[in-house]
Amino acid sequence: MIELKGVTKLYQGQAVPAVQNLSLSINRGEICVFVGPSGCGKSTTLRMINRMIEPSSGTIEIDGKNIMSSDPDSLRMGIGYVIQQIGLLPHRTIAENIAIVPRLYKWPKEKIKSRVNELLEMMGLDPAETRNKYPSQLSGGQMQRVGVARAMAVDPSIMLMDEPFGAVDPVARNRLQDEFLRLQKEINKTIVFVTHDINEAIKMGDKIAILNQGQLIQFGTPEEILTDPANDFVENFIGYDRIVKKLNLYTVAEAMKTSFGLVDEAEFSGINAKIPNAEVIFVRDQGEQLVGYLTAEDLSAQGAQRLTQVARQKRLSFVKLNTPLPDALSLMLENDADYVAVLDGDRLCGAI
């Protein structure tokens, strides 16, 4: 756990502090995102946590221990640090770059080698191909990955990331974000993440700290901040599409109806077909393939004979459990559909 208590930083020659009386605590295993306009003190705050900068006043504790009481170099060795410009050593190979902190810890050669390979694989890079390259031979996205791998080399429990995906194009950034979130589920690190992009903050953060002019304006989960912005600044910062952004927090799994009907086409031919009483009824053919759906209204308005036709006329689309809700909704708009089917693997498990 990282705890900032009344931290202030006044740079020399500055009239207004870069960071002012900032207090917040970051729980173990959480991603806490610092977000705010340029110059609001995000980097300054982050860099105080690994003592790259010393606070003018206030204290910072990691797991209850004041960081000023430990040696700065060994403190930094135990904290992963990623910066936007990455800062790979241009005269060292990728493997050597990743091995920097393990070497500081004097790990044996064999252990370093296998760890480097493991990390490269984890970051989606081919070890054999990448190991002996130099940074100038990699693409921006690949360098970014190496930067993250290097910070994770000795498996530190805390990572500080200052706009780690800032230097790549939006497509690559999205991929890196997704991959990193997936990775975080396994590694469960305490992460302090700096960005000036509110969308990235909402996507990455378990908690978001919104800063402006060195002050903490609001601190909470993305949901809290989107639902209940503390003031006009936050509201403006989030933007007019607050509602849409909020939808992004949800996946199909959280919004779907789990009560639905499922009938075989063949049953319609029976005069007294046993039609389930549900808001939406999916229809499947003999091959157990879903072919369409019916709504409650269709049932009351149409005779049983025509139901098959009605069901088949509607375009049926499918989404997965972990599809973001806005994607599912736009699919519905596109197909002019009232419902889409939600699949868990191959199994039908709900409707929206």
């Binding site: 170099d73 930094r76 640090y81 410009q85 990455i86 800062g87 050593l89 005269h91 060292r92 100038s136």
Partner: protein, 212 residues
């Protein structure tokens, strides 16, 4: 050619003397100016002062500097004065380039290195020096070539080296003598520079040379 044949022993002697002077001067310069260039990165104030002094010395014409040292009692005519002057001239190209090379390393690389817990000494050895090597080496090459040239002028304060062919040749209007001296000095300068160019290839880290 005839001149060369007739005076081969003198030529060998002068060449030897010339090399000796240059090598000693370069060696002392390295021992002195490389560490001071590195030390200067610790204090901007001292760096400004030292570089200003180096600059002033560099601007004094070599003949004047040699002459001034001769008047100083315990230096006198000969080796000591010549060495001192050469070493002082080297201050500018050598110390300045070491300082620049070590100082102007990409800030982001330094930030990342420090942030990973590398100590200041380690950063100097493993990052600043290797990354500054191209600049440092450029300064070293200039120093060597320059020293070779200026050493010739030390003949006026009693050094018996290749410069003597030129000065005496001028006095006696002996064209062959002048040309021999001039060519030999140039060959040595170019030769040394080429040799150092080859050394540089081995010293500059590979990662700085690969391009995509």
């Amino acid at each position: 050619m005839q001149f060369v044949n007739q005076n081969s022993t003198t030529i060998v002697e002068y060449t030897q003397n010339h090399f000796e002077l240059v090598l000693t001067a370069v060696l002392i310069s390295l021992l002195l100016w490389v560490p001071s260039g590195i030390l200067l990165t610790k204090s901007d104030k001292w760096a400004r002062r030292a570089l200003a002094i180096a600059n002033i010395i560099f601007c004094i014409p070599s003949l004047s500097l040699f002459a001034v040292f001769v008047t100083i009692p315990f230096l006198g005519l000969g080796r000591q004065s010549a060495l001192l002057a050469l070493v002082l001239y080297a201050m500018m190209p050598l110390m300045r380039n070491v300082y620049d090379g070590v100082k102007n390393v990409d800030r982001n690389v330094l930030e990342a290195a420090k942030g990973m817990g590398m100590s200041t000494g380690r950063i100097m050895r493993e990052i600043r020096l290797p990354l500054g090597m191209p600049v440092i080496f450029a300064g070293f090459r200039i120093t060597v070539v320059m020293t070779t040239g200026i050493a010739a002028i030390a003949t006026y304060i009693g050094e018996r080296n290749l410069g003597r062919f030129i000065s005496e040749g001028l006095v006696r209007s002996n064209t062959n003598m002048i040309i021999t001296g001039a060519i030999l000095i140039s060959v040595i300068a170019v030769g040394l520079d080429t040799f150092l160019g080859l050394v540089e290839k081995r010293v500059v880290p590979r990662g700085l040379r690969v391009r995509r």
